[in-house]
């Protein structure tokens, strides 16, 4: 039978320590990612911005691809910014424990704290990126404000959370079979094509929709677009499905993280 190492304290006490540790880690990560140089802030925006610009150029050259009822740059920004949040959150949180294993020497710190703090850090950073990119595209195209800003933000956050939950599952399995970490790159590549980033749900061939609709990211990105432009009606967007996927993935990830903690490399 396997048990875990835990300080002998109440649940409330443990929660308060965990909150303190996560806040300290988030502050540390933000200073490390953004506080070192001004160029870091530039690169933070530049990487997703260049992807949006490329998409914009391709769509501008091929008018047949223009999405229905949506300003072009805003369409690219919502799709790419959301996908970028998913991608970076997944990549950065997957590497969080490996990169910060020395931190586990602090008795209060657990691998899960490193993971959560990395997720929260990415959440902070990519909220700024999203607002910056979408704001810029709105200025350029004079597109309207979102009809339902809350739904836009919730759907955007869901994209990052899908990345974090997926990373938790992969990372936990990879403690037993390290080669599994190599799966992250193919998932990211495949995700470009099946998440509604390049083509909206309404423009996706109908025979592909049943296959694509398993992907919670596709739903989340479509929910963002629906919330932004009421004229756009997605054929697949389902908030309940996204919620169920997130709940299920988070539960599986947390159980696996707990079960595989003893395989963590010293």
């Amino acid at each position: 039978m396997t048990f875990t190492t835990q300080p002998n304290r109440s649940f409330a006490g443990a929660l308060s320590v965990q909150m303190r540790v996560i806040v300290a880690l988030v502050l540390r990560e933000l200073v490390m990612e953004l506080g070192q140089s001004r160029a870091a802030i530039f690169w933070m925006f530049f990487r997703p911005a260049i992807l949006v610009a490329m998409m914009y150029a391709i769509y501008s050259l091929n008018h047949s691809l223009t999405p229905q009822g949506m300003p072009l740059m805003a369409f690219c920004a919502t799709g790419w910014a959301a996908y970028f949040s998913f991608m970076r959150t997944m990549a950065d949180t997957t590497g969080s424990v490996k990169g910060g294993s020395g931190l586990l020497m602090f008795p209060q710190m657990t691998a899960l704290d490193l993971f959560i703090s990395q997720t929260v850090t990415q959440w902070f950073i990519y909220n700024f990126v999203f607002i910056g990119l979408v704001g810029f595209s709105m200025l350029v195209e004079r597109s309207p404000l979102p009809a339902n800003p809350l739904q836009v933000m919730l759907a955007y956050w869901a994209c990052g959370l899908v990345g974090a939950c997926l990373a938790l599952i992969i990372k936990s399995f990879a403690r037993i079979v390290p080669a599994l970490e190599n799966i992250v790159m193919p998932i990211r590549r495949l995700g470009h094509f099946v998440s509604g980033v390049i083509v909206s749900g309404a423009d996706t061939p109908s025979f592909l929709l049943p296959y694509f609709s398993w992907n919670p990211l596709f739903h989340a990105i479509e929910l963002m677009r629906e919330a932004w432009w009421p004229a756009y009606v997605s054929p697949i967007a389902d908030a309940w499905y996204v919620f169920r996927c997130l709940f299920f993935m988070a539960a599986i990830g947390l159980i696996l993280e707990r079960a595989t903690r003893r395989f963590l490399e010293p």
Binding site: M1, T2, F3, T4, T5, Q6, P7, N8, R20, V21, V23, A24, L27, R28, V31, M32, Q36, S101, G102, L103, L104, M105, F106, P107, Q108, M109, T110, R261, R262, L264, P266
Partner: protein, 226 residues
């Protein structure tokens, strides 16, 4: 009890083979007693320290901690080389719920690093980093301090300062010391735990036990000043 290992089993897979370090280890380390962990290389001293610190998780069993425990003193792996000494000190202070400004100021003063505290740790020398790590360990009031072979950092002056600080700290905190330096074990510890057998040998007669251990290990008691 301050720290307790209950039926702890720990093993590692190296080169495809499972190496068991501890099998059903039971060990109680009460408050108010300074403990020295000794044993030959590979006997699991550092592994035990990691288990006590929570940096490693047992395959089976519990480690119960009822104390405000330090990180292994002098260990600098938890500090970011990209951040300055001040930023790292503030980070550690937040983890332990202490005033970041106070901890940073104490560390700067104790380590004597001055302006180097504002520089990223990666540009500091190994000696400077060790001074920083030791000073930071002294800046926070731990109930139990874990020490893994580092009682000799820096130059002679700084070593004397470290020894004095540690002696002063021993009045308020317990220490758990892993060391091959048996003189340190005798000087600092009230109880000795010898690892390497099926179960640890625990004794409060530190001098006698260390002498026997050294005899068994080297065939003589030379080098240990009793």
């Amino acid at each position: 009890m301050s720290l307790e290992c209950i039926d702890v089993t720990k093993s590692y897979v190296t080169m495809g083979r499972r190496h068991t370090v501890f099998q059903n280890l039971n060990l109680s380390l009460p408050k108010g007693i300074n403990v020295g962990l000794i044993g030959p290389n590979g006997s699991g001293k550092s592994t035990l320290l990691r288990l006590l610190a929570g940096a490693d998780v047992p395959d089976e069993g519990y480690v119960v901690r009822n104390t405000r425990l330090s990180w292994p003193l002098g260990f600098s792996g938890g500090f970011s080389p990209h951040l300055s000494g001040i930023a790292n000190a503030r980070f550690a202070a937040r983890i332990y719920n202490r005033d970041p400004n106070h901890v940073a100021a104490f560390t700067e003063e104790f380590s004597g690093l001055g302006e180097f505290m504002k520089w990223p740790l990666k540009v500091c020398s190994t000696g400077m980093r060790a001074r920083f790590a030791f000073a930071l360990s002294m800046a926070i009031d731990f109930e139990t301090i874990l020490i893994d072979e580092i009682l000799g950092v820096g130059d002679a002056d700084f070593r004397a300062k470290c020894t004095a600080a540690l002696d002063e700290r021993r009045a308020r905190s317990d220490i758990i010391l892993v060391s091959h330096n048996l003189k340190d074990i005798i000087r600092l510890c009230d109880r000795v735990v010898i690892l390497g057998g099926r179960q640890p040998i625990i004794s409060d007669d530190v001098v006698k036990t260390v002498k026997r251990y050294n005899l068994a290990l080297t065939g003589s008691a030379d080098g240990v000043d009793f």
